[in-house]
């Protein structure tokens, strides 16, 4: 071992460049609130990294021991000065300090080694599992792929949530917004989607990236624990910034997540990126812009707040076959106040994304969880992102729920309803019960197809509404135990062939015969 080290030292000494290094420099004229104003740096570029010469006054030993290199990011190029946000300990930056250009745009180290780790937006490991050694950097800011480099979204990404996979299907390469008030289950939907990817075959399983923007550290830690428990951390990377970190790091976090995703997308892989949440991202950008003295606009947000999110979300794409057919699917999350989806930031992001999943507080409080408001949730990709099997069974559920919603208000006033109306209401209630699902319990798509098919073909007929959940679980256990070939056929073929339909119909009849007690007989 020591001879290896000695050889390495000898080799580095032999190759040591003894020439001088010339860099462009500037001088700090003012520093405060994480922003440094610098005189000089005439040739600095936008989003360039600069390095503060904090080690000038330190001895060699102190410099080697210290890991406190302080970098900054150029964000304002003004007539005589350059304004830089400090990425690191701003206490170390002093007026009169020299600042050097690095001639590099901000980038993040990427590689397969980053999967399974928790990193900061600058690529530093923060999970205590050692440094991450990679050999490639991806730029944090990057122009999105053009139209001709993309192909259509036609492959589903299954969330494991019945209501979403059946009525608001998401495709690989789509941007689907998750929007709702606080504590309505937005993060749960995102985490369940990540966990559900473990049911995908390894070669089709997307790499998952969860970007925590300004979240409580306890929340990020609990999410990581949940993912580890479910075995999902093997294919997930977490980019974490806590609420106590400086606004520039919160601003960079989603872009870092997108950069990591682009690395895998360019290798032909599918990627799922969750941005939790972009409301905090907008707030951090507003704070940073006000400190940079950029003119405030509506609600004190800077004028380019729309561009902030549009350029982030446009980096999600489904690439053409020539470029490897990789994809990035984005699930941005926005928190509304009092259900107001017409506020500034929510309307911005709604107009950017390819659909939204709206979570309602009233539904949540009524016990309907996930609290999806199916009426106003939409996926603009639609059934192009569904398997043939799901497409076949999902049509009826959407219609039933739409009719139920119309009748729900009517039935509060009508005293005497006809039999047909009563039947529709009963059916609607059972579909609502069917779509309820526990937290962290995603359902593989083949089981969803079987459950919805059974509901469409009268498995709940004659049973009270309260028994819906029990009947569903008993039926799926029955299929698991005695008709496992049905599930495997749907899983591999992804469609409901006539043969499978016949088997399902027979299974339904057999189940009802064997479980009469569930129907009150």
């Amino acid at each position: 071992m020591s001879s290896v080290i000695i050889e390495k030292i000898k080799s580095e000494i032999a190759n040591l460049d003894t020439g001088s290094t010339t860099t462009d420099i500037g001088v700090v004229t003012a520093v405060g609130d994480g922003i440094a104003e610098i005189d000089g740096l005439d040739k600095a570029e936008m989003m360039e990294m600069v390095s503060f010469a904090v080690s000038d006054e330190q001895s060699l030993e102190e410099t080697l021991k210290s890991d406190k290199a302080v970098f900054g990011l150029v964000l304002n190029l003004e007539e005589d000065t350059v304004k830089v946000v400090i990425l690191g300990e701003s206490d170390l930056v002093k007026e009169g300090m020299r600042v050097m250009r690095t001639n590099k745009l901000l980038s993040i180290p990427v590689g397969k080694e980053i999967v399974g780790r928790v990193v900061s937006p600058l690529g530093e490991a923060i999970d205590g599992k050692g440094t991450i050694e990679t050999d490639r950097n991806m730029p944090i800011e990057r122009v999105a792929y053009g139209v001709m480099d993309r192909s259509g979204v036609n492959e589903p990404i299954h969330t494991g949530i019945k209501a979403i996979d059946s009525m608001i299907p998401i495709g690989r390469g789509q941007r689907e917004l998750i929007i709702g008030d606080r504590q309505t289950g937005k993060t749960t939907i995102a985490i369940d989607t990540i966990i559900n990817q473990k049911y995908e075959p390894a070669d089709k399983r997307p790499v998952c990236i969860y970007v925590a923007v300004g979240q409580k550290r306890s929340k990020t830690a609990s999410i990581m624990a949940r993912l580890e428990e479910a075995g999902a951390m093997e294919y997930t990377t977490i980019v974490a910034t806590s609420a106590s970190e400086a606004s520039p790091l919160l601003f960079l976090a989603p872009f870092a997540g997108a950069a990591i995703g682009e690395y895998f997308m360019e290798q032909g892989k599918d990627v799922l990126v969750v941005f939790d949440d972009l409301s905090k991202h907008a707030n951090a950008y507003r704070q940073m812009s006000l400190l940079l003295r950029r003119p405030p606009g509506r609600e004190a947000y800077p004028g380019d707040i729309f561009y902030l999110h549009s350029r982030l979300l446009e980096r999600s794409a489904k690439l053409s076959a020539e470029l490897g057919a990789g994809s990035i699917t984005a699930l941005p999350i926005i928190e509304t106040q009092e259900g107001d989806v017409s506020a500034y930031i929510p309307t911005n992001v709604i107009s950017i994304t390819d659909g939204q999943i709206f979570l309602d507080t009233d539904l949540f409080n009524k016990g309907i969880r996930p609290a999806l408001d199916v009426g106003i949730s939409v996926s603009r990709v639609g059934s192009s992102a569904q398997t043939k099997a799901m497409k076949k069974v999902a049509g009826k559920i959407r219609l039933e729920l739409a009719q139920f919603r119309e009748l729900e208000a009517f039935m509060q006033f009508a005293s005497d309803l006809d039999d047909d109306t009563k039947a529709r209401i009963d059916s609607g209630r059972k579909y609502v019960e069917l779509l309820k699902q526990g937290q962290n319990a995603p359902v593989p798509f083949q089981r969803q197809v079987v459950a919805i098919y059974a509901a469409n073909n009268g498995i709940f007929d004659g049973a009270p509404v309260e028994s819906t959940s029990k009947i569903e679980s008993e039926f799926l256990n029955f299929i698991d135990r005695d008709r496992k070939d049905i599930l495997s056929t749907i899983e591999t073929g992804r469609e409901l062939t006539d043969e499978v339909v016949d088997k399902l119909n027979k299974s339904l009849a057999d189940f009802k015969e064997a479980h009469k007690e569930l129907y009150g007989a």
Binding site: L16, I25, D80
Partner: protein, 126 residues
């Protein structure tokens, strides 16, 4: 408008008005016109302009005067490359260990032993 104030201030100083008096006059004019918000910016721009005239100043940092003598010809060649004709100021900093650092207004040439040792250490420990 700021540029006009800067030019007026510089002209009055060049003509021979005492800087303190020139600044007082500036403040009176700006106060009368309601342009006090520009006062700080005018002062900053004026200072930068005056510093810009000193573009050809340079600073050399060495560990001791003997180091400066041994690198004098190299330093002079670097200064020529930067179009600086004046003699640089010399600063002593033993943290450099050896070699020199030459700084002008906009560039820094680092030929110190410290920078090379830090770079060597980082390459070995990568």
């Amino acid at each position: 408008m700021k540029e006009n104030y800067v030019q007026a201030l510089l002209q009055s100083i060049e003509v021979g008005v005492e800087p303190r008096v020139a600044l007082q006059n500036l403040m009176l004019v700006q106060e009368k016109r309601g342009h006090m918000k520009l006062y700080r910016g005018v002062l900053q721009s004026t200072l930068r302009f005056l510093e810009g005239r000193a573009q050809d100043e340079a600073l050399v940092t060495v560990t001791d005067n003997s180091q400066y003598d041994s690198y004098k010809s190299e330093i002079e060649s670097q200064l020529a490359g930067m179009n600086i004709t004046t003699t640089p100021a010399v600063q002593i900093n033993s943290n450099l260990i050896g070699g020199y650092i030459l700084e002008s207004k906009s560039q820094r040439v680092d030929a110190s032993y410290k920078q090379k040792l830090v770079s060597l250490y980082q390459k070995i420990t990568q």
